[in-house]
């Protein structure tokens, strides 16, 4: 061919390619403008709670626009997209929207991604390749000029929009007529009589009758020394009272008790003071925002002096008067999509909190921060996604600071008063898979690490990174349990991968690691150094391909806490057993981009006979198994064990059980109205021991996986049945 001919051929190819691109930009989709308009409202009502109003995604809910959407769906058809959405969504209520609503939502999503409406309505049979009509570039005009309206509360009763306003604004009294069915503010006025201020010494040496923080004590044991309930009499336990809780969101809360008063957090960031003996509500403050997302509540609250400290899902921290519930101060930690769900830890005049919502790239990144308990003034912050100018900042493969996602801290830390050291777990870097985030083999500090910090200054004393460059959403972020073995002071933790770690909590030195469930992601675990080595295909992963992970993001171990029973030296661990195929997607490398960015397929863990629940007891000195057993349903409550030798745990299929701590033998069981989900506690009032646990729905992988795998389990509709249950032995 002549040079002129080659030039013409090249030019024609360029025009045809450009023409094809022009076709993609201008091609009409198989939906109408009316569906897009209606779809905006349907999306807000049913999808925005998890996928965010701007379709940017949050947590387990991927972005529905941009590179992530493109890499997931551009090669597939509208028919496949409809099939997936209509059988999987909304989360917790899959398949229960009308065909019209599904068509509307899909039309809206396609339009946001650049597809143009046409004349024919979209149905389940509309079959057009998505990449031929949409390019993933968000169209602001379709979103509504900077984002769709704030999501409405998702309740069983109404989809009405939330009231505006802050938590201190007076609201119509409970039961009174209100324009909004869920008013914010202090909705029940009352005063806790004879309230006794909580001192530093009381937090270090709490009364046996009290449960003053999420896992009762600074050591994080989830253990009560009360011994009234024993293996012989637990079968006689009776329900004393129950309390219906706010609908929506995830019930992963810990009923905390001081001097006979229970302080209970609900979803929609609501705090209540309740008489722990009678169940009588004393005061209620609805701080808001309302439940509109998968979580919408806090796992633990702080009790100190005359105040109750609450970190809310809009990344604020509040101090309430413990006697009246009135807001004393509010400090903004960060701005949404940043959030806080893990709870707080109060340490001599400072309230410490982690941060969530760090999956989307941002300027502020992710951090642990501390606030003055009297004034709310921020005292320090420790950056968990090490910035380039900080120690550890050279471990992100050179990616810019504001593209370093993840390293959330979503479980409140432990504290050793003698060492004056607080211990926190840090989640993985995000996006989940290294191929998506571009970190290659870089460790990405301080992801998947145990941090030992000075609570007075936030200074790092030491860190131990459990899984450098973690790549499968198997974070090691959960409770750090402080256990002494003679003179040896240890900190123990277990992550989603099921690896139980034992470190010297003075120095951070690795002591031991033990596998507790089947795992196939590490080809090597060095029991001398604690170093782990991923399977070769995981190390060499690419986006757009599936990789097997056992366990998957349900765990192994997840947020339901384990219990350390000192008398038996046993850690009793509620575990799940499931696997995933995970496929990392591309993400937009810009502020607001990122997300978790992976598609998952679920399967039962090999060799388990489809048993998804595993209760496992291990001697912490010898690191040998004491006992274990499996069951079909996974556990969605933590374990609480007691001085009487009885442990309690609840599961996805609504069973709440008591077991013998020494043997694991089941002693008593009952069935609740909803999945048993939360942090169980035990306390005493007037000499009587009580055990309390919540039931409800919501959350991420721990609920998502069994919802899909256990097809025979039917639960009440999501959002219904959020309840607190309190048991005790009969008075005689």
């Amino acid at each position: 061919m002549s040079r002129k001919g080659k030039f013409l051929a090249t030019a024609m190819a360029a025009v045809s390619m450009g023409g094809a691109y022009a076709v993609a930009q201008n091609a009409t989709g198989p939906f109408t403008q009316a569906q897009v308009t209606a779809g905006r409202a349907d999306y807000i009502a049913n999808c925005a709670g998890c996928h965010a109003a701007n379709l940017g995604g949050s947590g387990d809910a991927p972005s529905l626009t941009g590179a992530t959407f493109n890499s997931s769906w551009s090669a597939k058809s509208t028919k496949e997209f409809y099939q997936f959405v209509s059988t999987s969504m909304p989360y917790g209520n899959a398949g229960n929207l009308s065909a019209e609503a599904y068509g509307n939502v899909i039309s809206f999503i396609l339009a946001v991604n650049g597809a143009k409406p046409g004349s024919a309505a979209l149905t389940k049979d509309s079959d057009v390749r998505i990449g031929s009509i949409a390019n993933g570039q968000a169209v602001a005009a379709v979103l509504g000029g900077g984002g769709a309206a704030a999501p409405a509360v998702r309740t069983a009763q109404t989809g009405a929009a939330p009231a505006a306003g802050d938590g201190d604004a007076p609201a119509p009294p409970r039961g009174g007529r209100a324009a909004n069915p869920f008013p914010l503010g202090q909705t029940v006025q009352g005063t806790v009589k004879n309230y006794q201020d909580i001192t530093d010494d009381m937090l270090v040496h709490p009364s046996d009758n009290d449960w003053l923080m999420g896992r009762r004590t600074y050591q994080g044991w989830s253990y009560s020394p009360l011994s009234q309930i024993t293996p012989d009499n637990v079968k006689n336990m009776q329900l004393q009272w129950s309390w219906a809780m706010n609908p929506g969101g995830a019930v992963e809360v810990s009923p905390e008790v001081h001097n006979g008063i229970m302080f209970l957090s609900n979803t929609s960031n609501t705090i209540q003071a309740i008489d722990a003996k009678t169940g009588e509500l004393i005061w209620e403050n609805r701080l808001g925002p309302q439940a509109s997302a998968a979580y919408s509540g806090t796992r633990s609250i702080g009790l100190y002096k005359d105040k109750v400290f609450v970190a809310t899902t809009d990344a604020k921290i509040h101090a309430l008067d413990a006697r009246t519930g009135k807001t004393v101060w509010t400090t903004v930690i960060d701005t949404p999509p940043k959030s806080e769900t893990g709870g707080v830890t109060v340490i001599h005049g400072k309230v410490l909190t982690g941060l969530m919502g760090c999956d989307q790239f941002s300027v502020t990144g992710c951090y642990i921060s501390a606030y003055d308990t009297e004034t709310g003034r921020q005292l320090w912050k420790f950056q968990t996604n090490a910035q380039s100018t900080q120690p550890g900042g050279d471990t992100w493969n050179g990616i810019p600071d504001n593209i370093r996602g993840g390293t959330d801290t979503w479980i409140a830390g432990s504290y050793d008063p003698e060492l004056n050291t607080t211990y926190w777990g840090v989640a993985q870097a995000k996006p989940w898979m290294r191929a998506s985030r571009g970190t290659a083999a870089a460790p990405a500090l301080y992801s998947t690490s145990t941090l030992a910090l000075d609570p007075d200054t936030g200074k790092l004393k030491w860190y131990f990174q459990h899984v450098p460059g973690e790549s499968l959403d198997l974070d090691v972020v959960f409770e750090r349990v402080l256990i002494d073995h003679g003179d040896q002071k240890t900190v123990m933790t277990i992550g989603k991968d099921g690896l139980l770690w034992k470190l010297d909590r003075v120095t951070g030195k690795f002591l031991d690691v033990r596998e507790t469930v089947f795992q196939n992601v590490f080809q090597k675990i060095d029991h001398k150094t604690g170093q782990v080595l991923y399977r070769d295909d995981i190390l060499n992963q690419k986006t757009g391909q599936y990789y097997a992970s056992c366990p998957g993001p349900e765990g192994g171990k997840d947020w339901p806490p384990m219990s350390y029973n000192q008398a038996s030296d046993l850690l009793i661990i509620p575990e799940a057993q499931s696997c995933v195929m995970m496929n990392g997607r591309e993400v937009d490398k810009k502020i607001g981009g990122g997300g978790t960015a992976a598609t998952q397929l679920f399967y039962f863990m090999p060799g388990t006979n489809q048993n998804m629940g595993h209760l496992f007891a291990i001697n912490t000195t010898t690191m040998q198994t004491a006992w274990d057993w499996q069951q079909r349903a996974p556990f969605l409550s933590g374990v609480v064990s007691t001085g009487g030798g009885v442990g309690f745990v609840g599961d996805f299929n609504r069973e709440w059980k008591a077991f013998d701590v020494k043997t694991g033998k089941i002693l008593w069981r009952t069935r609740l109205g909803q999945t048993v989900e939360g942090y169980p506690t035990s306390f005493a009032v007037d000499g009587k021991q009580y055990v309390a646990v919540t039931a409800g729905t919501g959350g991420g992988s721990p609920e998502q996986k069994p919802s899909t795998l256990l097809t025979e389990v039917h639960r009440p509709v999501e959002g219904n049945g959020h309840q607190l249950y309190v048991w005790a032995l009969p008075s005689n």
Binding site: Q83, F84, T87, S88, A94, G95, F518, N520, Q523, R535, D536, D537, A548, C550, C579, V580, M581, Q600, L601, F602, Y603, F604, M605, P606, G607, N609, Q610, T708, T711
Partner: protein
């Protein structure tokens, strides 16, 4: 030939024969339950069902028999696959037969090489049954495990 010479000869011949003949280990037994292959909410009905398979390794021949039931769609094929680890799907190394229908039998024999035998004893070999709606990972799967597992 004297008796002594004859007995030496017989002993030597026996030793020679013994060294020339391959020494086979006793047959090894394996089994697995067949569970739904990886799925999500949109494909859960495609992968319904359960199965049970047992296998015998005799020399280098792996013989598999088993059954499946409760599949919502007719079985079309079955395979033996070698993965990177137990629980990792891997690639096909042999074909089995199925009797068809949503419930039926699976059977067949394949030859394994030394690498594959080692993988079998690590638990990395799976049996997969496909039905008419099978996705890339099949419909039912399970990883063979037995007394010889070395993992």
């Amino acid at each position: 030939m004297s008796f002594c010479k004859r007995s030496h000869f017989v002993r030597a011949a026996a030793l020679l024969l013994a060294s020339a003949s391959p020494v086979f280990a006793a047959d090894a037994q394996y089994a697995t339950q067949l569970d739904p292959s990886a799925f999500d909410n949109s494909t859960v009905k495609n992968n319904a069902g359960i199965g049970h398979v047992s296998a015998t390794l005799s020399g280098t021949t792996l013989t598999i028999t088993g059954d499946y039931s409760g599949m919502g769609f007719d079985a079309t094929a079955a395979h033996v696959k070698l993965g990177l680890a137990k629980g990792e799907p891997g690639h096909v190394i042999g074909e089995l037969k199925v009797t068809g229908g949503g419930s039926g039998q699976v059977s067949g024999s394949i030859k394994l090489n030394a690498t594959q035998i080692k993988a079998l004893n690590l638990g990395d070999i799976s049996v997969v049954v496909d039905n008419t709606k099978a996705g890339p990972y099949g419909s039912l799967w399970g990883w063979l495990s037995g007394n010889n597992l070395t993992s």
